[in-house]
């Protein structure tokens, strides 16, 4: 069966000054990536990636981007990504997290990565309320994984999370 095989590159946008929401559209990311490939690999790179490249997913809160590209030419894309310095006037760079063959594998990775980031956030908490909020979020997302019907679960405010 002939089908197009793709690679999905999962990246995180690292801004100079971290903000909660970075309002950006998918087409802006697409143009910036196209420009970087053109500058790095010229007309050949632009032509080869034009057909299959697409920004599949963008999350402005976690600043995660999922870019699809044809499997044969993913190296052209991945080697041009480090040269991106800014989008518009905002200085940032791409930090590539994972490259997978399907969107589902990238999603699985993203879930694990999110849990790791929550653990890092727990280390950085300064007040008890922050710590409780992060612990509650961690437990909530691990519960969601295991339970099929999570609406029935009640967790009270009196739960003691302190060690």
């Amino acid at each position: 069966m002939v089908r197009f095989k793709n690679r999905y590159l999962l990246c995180e946008l690292v801004l100079e000054k971290d903000c909660l929401v970075y309002p950006i559209e998918q087409k802006e990311v697409y143009y910036v990536v196209r420009q970087a490939i053109e500058r790095c690999h010229g007309d050949y790179g632009a032509g080869v990636t034009q057909g299959g490249m697409n920004v599949k997913y963008l999350n402005v809160y976690t600043k995660t981007v999922l870019i699809r590209v044809r499997r044969e030419y993913y190296k052209l894309l991945w080697s041009s990504i480090p040269f991106i310095k800014s989008i518009g006037r905002q200085k940032l760079f791409f930090h590539s997290l994972h490259i997978g063959g399907t969107i589902r594998s990238c999603q699985k990775f993203l879930v694990k990565y999110g849990q790791q980031q929550l653990a890092v956030l727990l280390q950085k908490c300064k007040t008890q309320e922050e710590r409780k909020a992060v612990q509650r979020a961690t437990i909530h997302c691990t519960w969601l994984k295991g339970l099929s019907n999570f609406e029935n679960v009640k967790h009270t405010e009196d739960d003691d999370f302190s060690d």
Partner: protein
């Protein structure tokens, strides 16, 4: 899985920028960073100073590594720009206080000297401009045999387009001589926004002619070889023996000291006379009471 190293973070007196660079590096996954002090002219007598102390980092900066139960290592590195008329003695003096030694040759003679004779770990050629000398095969071969690595920096490529072209062309001319062996990729960043993650940097190896395995090695295994090469150059005699004072022995090596063996639990028959056991020991430290000779195994990279 080898750790990711960044062996060229230039030293700045601006502590705030420096801490930001280290913070970004840790967030992106680097575990070993070498702070680079560059000495351009050896005209003054005290051009090379003692290695300064490590910058202390807060727990907040180290949090991403703490979560994975990993530690952060800061090393100090000295890069000397060498012209052929000067012969700087790197074997003694303040240069030995640095963990890693590097040379930036600016002429063919200096390059030959660095590859064949000088006791250094890294040869860093300035690739942002046209090479002042052609890279030839014999010195490169000699350097690879000695365990000296060649460095390619990527931050100038991010800053400037002409530098990018020059770096790619010079890196390729290096690749044709060394076939991708003994190459390390490092950053040489000026601010925190120029740091790139280790997988991104490994992919830049594709632009420099390296294949996938070689480019991944360039950020991890080859850098580890450099650090080990530097350690054996500094601490050991002929890379086989190293001497440590009994009081300075690390906790995990304390079992090797004879005095501590009486306190250690013995396996098997506990009724044996411990003093008769130790007198039959074939130790070499019987004549040197204060020093404990420790045989260091040097793992050679194949």
């Amino acid at each position: 899985m080898a750790k990711f190293h960044d062996l060229n973070v230039p030293y700045t007196t601006d502590v705030k920028t420096f801490k930001q660079i280290l913070k970004k590096s840790i967030e992106l996954g680097y575990e070993v960073v070498a702070v680079n002090h560059v000495v351009t002219s050896l005209a003054k007598k005290d051009a090379v100073k003692e290695a300064p102390a490590h910058v202390p980092l807060d727990d907040e900066i180290l949090a991403p590594l703490k979560v994975k139960a990993k530690t952060f290592r800061q090393l100090s590195r000295l890069t000397v720009t060498l012209k052929d008329t000067q012969t700087y003695r790197l074997g003694s003096g303040p240069a030995q206080s640095y963990d890693i030694l590097a040379i930036q040759p600016t002429s063919e003679k200096a390059f030959q000297l660095a590859c064949t004779q000088l006791e250094i770990d890294i040869i860093s050629i300035n690739m942002t401009e046209k090479l002042p000398f052609p890279i030839r095969l014999p010195p490169v071969k000699a350097a690879i045999e000695r365990g000296v690595h060649f460095e390619i920096t990527y931050a100038p490529a991010i800053r400037d387009t002409t530098a990018r072209r020059n770096i790619i062309s010079n890196a390729l001319s290096l690749y044709f001589m060394c076939k991708g062996k003994n190459v390390i990729l490092s950053s040489d960043v000026e601010n925190a926004m120029e740091v790139r993650g280790p997988y991104d940097v490994a992919n830049l190896g594709f632009l420099f002619g390296l294949n996938e395995a070689q480019s991944k090695d360039a950020v991890s295994m080859n850098c580890r070889s450099v650090v080990l090469h530097a350690e054996t150059r500094r601490n050991t005699a002929k890379a086989a023996l190293s001497v440590t004072k009994v009081t300075d022995v690390a906790e995990k090596h304390k079992w090797k000291v004879r005095e501590n063996r009486a306190a250690m639990p013995t396996v098997g028959d506990g009724d044996k006379d411990k003093s008769s056991d130790s007198s039959q020991d074939d130790d070499t430290d019987s004549d040197a009471d204060d020093h404990h000779v420790k045989k260091k195994k040097r793992k050679l990279k194949t």
